[in-house]
Amino acid sequence: MNRPRLLTRRTFFRGVAAGGLLPLAGCDLGSDSPRVLSLLDEAESLTQAVQRALLQSRDALAPEYNAGAISAYFKPNGSTDPDDPDYVAARRTNFADWKLEVGGLVERPIALSLSDLRALPSRSQVTRHDCVEGWSCVGQWKGAKLSAILDAAGLKPKARLIAFFCADTLEQTLDGTGRYYETIDLVDAYHPQTILAYEMNYAPLKVEHGAPLRLRVERQLGYKMAKYVMRIEAIDGFRHLGRGRGGFWEDRGYAWYAGI
């Protein structure tokens, strides 16, 4: 009786190691293969379809909190101090002469100053900001409702998406694809909580958080919420933008739908 028991005891640690994780260790299972990655992408389409089409009503609101829940420290991420010349110049005058351009597939291209934006229908909300990295902060945001801006310009029937072009270059590239941009669909563009925020935590939006204007898309992760928004365009597809995946981080492998 004792002999097999002893043998087993002696070998089981080696057995667990050999039979368990080691064969996979250091193996990437084709993580750099475009075919593997596009297969894995199928799950992202499924996630989007289920979250958007099956579970969620168009206007379901992200949870909102009272002012007491606002985080003492809100982590600034991505660009925090853009050095692109046009932005630096506009910042010097505290964005007094700066204007948001609205164009693309719209009936009436317009340009809106900060005071124009402040005069539009607005919304104030205390929401949780969820970063793709895993952390969360709660902050208050106030801004012009994106739906009001789009209605002022009038979307053409062909418009399917809204693109946001930003002032910051997050990665230096030769072809200019390091400039930040984002795209959202019309469901999110017309969502009541989707605003272009000029105020954070009851004060004018700071440069580190995206002054003069930052997009808030509260049902998605932080990388969708473009900072330093300079120009928005209604478009019918994003293949021609950047590297063709619909946003700066999307071009670098992240999902276009960032609801999870």
Binding site: L40, G134, S136, R219, G253, Y254
Partner: protein, 279 residues
Amino acid sequence: MASISSAPAAPRAVPQVVLRHSALVRICHWMNALCFLILLMSGLQIFNAHPSLSWGQTSDFDNPFFSLSANENDNGSVTGVTTLFGHAFDTTGVLGASRAADGEMDERGFPSWATLPSYQDLATGRRWHFFFGWLLVLNGLVYVTNLFAGRHIRDFLPTLHDFRTIPRAVLDHARLRFPKGEEARHYNVLQKLAYLSVIIAFPILILAGLTMSPAMDATFPLLPAIFHGRQSARTIHFALAAFLVAFVIVHLVMVLVSGVFNNIRSMITGRYRIPEEAP
């Protein structure tokens, strides 16, 4: 005993082989094992993007109750530090700082051999995680449907009598003495409790994972309320994953010490030889 040839068809001489696991359960088991391994390793990749845990709705950047970090020393060497409830431990080489493929000691939550991909790549880790997350959920739905439709859940529910046998079962397991004969035809109390805890842990772990999704929280505001906030949900997701790792280690040890060939065969072909009672 020696007169076996003169006693025709003596039943005791034939080893009793039973069908222990149905084909469906066997397929679900191996599918679950594959999914769990990929989810664990891609999950550690995702964790490494923010290698600390907080409680509540938001992150505590200054004093998280658990964190993996690295310190660069004056002589240029790098030390990995694991912090738990304010106590710091030197875990260089494994947690906080470990060697990459090029041999460099890098700041890294979990080491490259434990993550998928092995190099730092949050975007790809997320793709693996959500693809196999879907597989795990669909596989789990098949398993749980069968579990209740076939009333197999009864196999895992301990009886009052079972609870009284816990001390004895613990003692027997510690001595590596396992049930034989009639007793080996059903799960003992420790097996029931272990498997039941896994059946309960998986749905909670999945719900905690979904609570990290801002779209899910907008759809089901109850989710963040149940888990006491998104960062708590992240912590619970991590803790339950750690619990399942502990289960798998104990499970594999038990497979090895209680008749490894018989056990593995029963999960591949379904056939399990009932260990004979000592004469």
